[in-house]
C-alpha cells in the first residue's frame, strides 16, 4: 500500500514536472528576448504554475550601483503576467500593473536593498498558466 502511494506521488510529481517543462519552455524562450544583450543574465531560472489568484513570490537582494532588468512572461503573448516589487517594509516600489502590464522593466538601484517580487496572472486575461521570471543586470 505504502509503495503504491509513493509510486502515485512520484508519478504525479513526474507528470507535473513534464507539464511544467512543456508549458514553461516556450515561455522562457520568449521571455529571454527581453533580457537584451546589454544585460548579463543572473544565471537562474524562476518559474511557477499558477492558477486563479495564486501569487508567486521570491526575495532577492538588489545591489547598489546596478540596473536590473526584470522580465515576466506567461501564456503565448506579452502582458499576461503582472508583477510588483516591495521593499522589506512592504512599500511598493514598482508594479507593471500601472504600466500596461509591461513584460519587462528596469530597476536602477542607488543603494543595496532587499526586495520581494510578487507575480500573478492578469485575471482578466488568463486563468492559469506557467509564470516565468528572468533577471538580468548591468553596471
Amino acid at each position: 500500500m505504502r509503495r503504491y502511494i509513493l509510486s502515485t506521488i512520484l508519478l504525479a510529481a513526474s507528470s507535473l514536472s513534464l507539464q511544467a517543462q512543456g508549458l514553461c519552455a516556450p515561455i522562457a524562450d520568449r521571455c529571454e528576448q527581453h533580457i537584451t544583450s546589454e544585460y548579463i543574465p543572473d544565471g537562474q531560472f524562476y518559474r511557477a504554475l499558477l492558477q486563479g489568484e495564486e501569487v508567486a513570490e521570491f526575495g532577492m537582494t538588489l545591489f547598489g550601483g546596478t540596473t536590473y532588468r526584470l522580465a515576466a512572461c506567461s501564456g503565448d503573448s506579452d502582458g499576461l503576467l503582472l508583477f510588483a516589487v516591495y521593499d522589506r517594509d512592504r512599500n511598493l516600489l514598482f508594479t507593471n500593473k500601472e504600466h500596461s502590464a509591461a513584460p519587462y522593466w528596469d530597476l536602477a538601484i542607488s543603494n543595496s536593498l532587499e526586495v520581494t517580487i510578487e507575480a500573478y496572472l492578469d485575471p482578466a486575461r488568463s486563468g492559469s498558466g506557467c509564470a516565468v521570471l528572468l533577471v538580468g543586470f548591468k553596471k
Binding site: A13, P41, G43, Q44, F45, G59, T61, D106, L113, E118
Partner: protein, 288 residues
Amino acid sequence: MGLVLTLAACGGSDTPPQDTVVDSSQVAKGAEDARIVQLGGRNFSIPSPVQAAYAIRGAGLNYNAALLAGTDKAGAITERPRRSLFLGMLGADMAYVTVHGDGQKALATLQTIERVGSELELSNAFDRALIERFKSNLGSEDSLLRFSGVAFRAADQYLKDNDRMDVSTYVLAGGWLESLHLTVSDPAAADNAELMARIGEQRRSLDDLVALIGSLPADEQDLRLLEGLKALQVTFSGITSTYTYEAPVTEVAKRTTYINSKTGVTITSEQFARIATQVSELRSMILA
C-alpha cells in the same frame, strides 16, 4: 495542488539558524499567504557571482589567480553534492578571471566547467559550441559574462525541469561561497567601506541558502556544509543594518524606475576576519 507536490518551503530573510522542515503545508503560512506559491521550488534568488567580481574589481583589489579553486581538482571530486558545489565555484572563478581580463584562465575554467557539467549530465548547457563561442569572443568581457550567464541559466532550467533541485542548489551554493571567498581573501577588502557593506549584504542570501539546502530530502543534504553555513549565519547575525524608504522615481519612456531608498550596513573587522576564516574552512572541506 500541482506545486504543493513539488515545492519545498523556505525561510524568510530574517530566519534565524534553524532546521527547515520539508512540509508542503508550509507553502501556505497563513490566511494572507494562502495564495502564495514559489517560483521554481524556492522563493529567493542568489546574487550572480558576476556582481561580486565587479565589486572586487571596483574596489581595486589585486587580481590573484592563486585564490581560484583550481581546474586540476575536477577529477578528484566525485560525489554529486561536492561536484555540484565545485561547478558553482568554477562559475564564480570564471566571472572573477573574466572581469580581470585573464582570457586564457577563463577559457581553461570554461573547459573544466564543460567537463564537470558533463559529469552532472548538463551537456545541454555547457557544450563544445559554448566553448567555441567563448573562444571567438575572448576579447569581449561583456560577451563572455553573458554567455556564462545564459549557460548557467539553461543549466538551472534543465535541472528544475528534471527535478534535480539538489544539483541546482549546490551549484548556487558553490558560486555564492566562492564569490565570498574571492571577496574576503584579500585583507585589503577590510579597508574598503563599499566592499565591507557588500559582504554584510550577503546575510539574506546566506539565510536563503541554508533554507534551500535544509529543504532538500534528507539523503541529498550535505550535512557538513549545512552545519558550516549555519555557523557562518551566526557570525552574520551580528552584522547590523539600517533601511530608510524613499519614494522611487519612474521614467516611463525609459521603462526604468529609480530606487533611491537608503541602506546602511555595519560590519566590524572582527566579524570580517571570522567570516574569512569560516569561508576558508568551508571551501577547504569542499575541495579536500
